[in-house]
């Protein structure tokens, strides 16, 4: 079990880092401009904030969209780990901990899919 979890975590990080790197190369290639003024906070455009929007942007091979997809995958890695723990506790028939991990999973899903309105 621990072995699978280690592989899961490592491949999640590796895959997301590769996506961010590829996206970064494309972004720098096409973005030969003076640096954006980050001193003033504007917030990201809508298409780089939501899961669906990021998938569409990345599908067009836009650098920023690909980076954001990599970051989304990175955020999803701990979520996958918690999901895996739910299964592991189910397998052990440890119902208390199935419940505990389900609560954590629900909180994470709330943040990822519905937390924007807070």
């Amino acid at each position: 079990m621990d072995q699978i979890m280690a592989v899961l975590l490592r491949s999640g990080v590796l895959l997301s880092a590769s996506l961010v790197f590829i996206g970064g190369v494309i972004y720098l290639w096409r973005h030969d401009l003076p640096v954006t003024n980050y001193r003033v906070f504007q917030g990201e455009p809508q298409e780089l904030r939501t899961v669906g929007g990021i998938l569409r942007e990345a599908g067009k091979f836009h650098g920023r969209g690909l980076i954001q997809l990599g970051l989304l995958l990175l955020i999803a890695t701990p979520v996958a780990r918690v999901l895996f723990s739910v299964l592991a506790f189910l397998y052990e028939k440890d119902w208390t901990y199935v419940a505990i991990t389900m609560i954590v999973l629900a909180l994470l899903c709330y943040s990822l899919f519905g937390g924007g309105g807070l």
Partner: protein
């Protein structure tokens, strides 16, 4: 400065931060926010978004190594993650409404605490405390490998640990840091876990806590790909190199230097916060 130069400079700074953070055990995240705001004049909200992402990367990378060795206590970690994720959601929600100057001051104070706690001596308390009712019911007692073979330990102080973890989660969501120092305090001091178990379990939890607030930061548009890309790759690369070079070795003088640097950054963050320069 063009985009390429900015990216490379931020990337190199993050590489160094990740390297020193993993050597000293403080984590790279704590230096990222002051570096981006004070050196590169990035708005603190973008800086926190980028730091959160790098915290997830290093935590997940390191946790992969620790779960294998059998140090981390998965039950304790999972139970306390309820407290840290709720805390992180609260912290991220509060951060959306706080003035950036207030966040800068709180950040400075948290930095001073992490620098201070990294220098404190940590004696391994081997006293095998008596079993605790709540911990027994939650089957948290476990064992871990030591030099004298596998050693059993009992867990205590679950309610206090849970409360402290909520605080660690709030700080993490508010400031984009892993709050490793507070997590270790909760497990080591309040719950009497062996120190090695506390640090590895804390690392195991940091990724989940950070993911809880990162979701909110992402949907609020605080995570900018142009900043997060060099920060995430830099911190991750630096921490991997750091872990390779000195696996487990204690580097006291380096830790002292790093703590002093963090202390300075903290003072500057607090000053800028009060002066309204953030």
């Amino acid at each position: 400065m063009n985009t390429l130069e900015f990216t490379l400079l931020v990337g190199m700074g993050s590489l160094l931060a990740g390297f020193l953070g993993s050597l000293t055990g403080l984590g790279g995240g704590v230096v990222i926010v002051p570096m981006l705001t004070l050196l590169f004049h990035v708005d603190i909200r973008y800086a926190i978004g980028a730091a959160l992402v790098s915290v997830i990367a290093t935590s997940s990378g390191a946790a992969a190594a620790y779960v294998k060795e059998g140090y981390s206590n998965v039950r304790v970690g999972m139970f306390l993650e309820i407290a840290t994720t709720v805390g992180a959601l609260v912290g991220a929600a509060v951060a959306l409404h706080l003035h950036v100057s207030v966040i800068a001051v709180i950040f400075g104070l948290a930095l001073i605490y992490s620098a201070f706690s990294s220098l404190r001596e940590k004696p391994e308390h081997t006293t095998n405390v008596a079993p605790d009712r709540i911990a027994t019911w939650l089957r948290m007692d476990s064992s871990y490998p030591t030099a004298h073979g596998v050693t059993q330990y009992h867990v205590r102080g679950v309610p206090l640990g849970f409360a402290l973890m909520f605080g660690a989660g709030v700080l993490s969501g508010l400031l984009g840091i892993g709050s490793g120092a507070v997590k270790v305090l909760a497990m080591d001091q309040a719950m009497k876990l062996p120190f090695k178990v506390s640090t590895t379990t804390s690392n195991f939890m940091i990724g989940v806590t950070a993911a809880a607030s990162a979701g909110i930061y992402l949907s609020r548009g605080y995570i900018d790909p142009g900043i997060a890309m060099p920060v995430m790759l830099g911190v991750l690369g630096g921490s991997l190199v750091g872990a390779r070079i000195l696996a487990g070795a204690t580097v006291r003088s380096l830790r002292l230097v790093f703590a002093v640097v963090i202390g300075f950054l903290a003072v500057e963050m607090i000053y800028n916060g009060f002066a309204g320069k953030m």
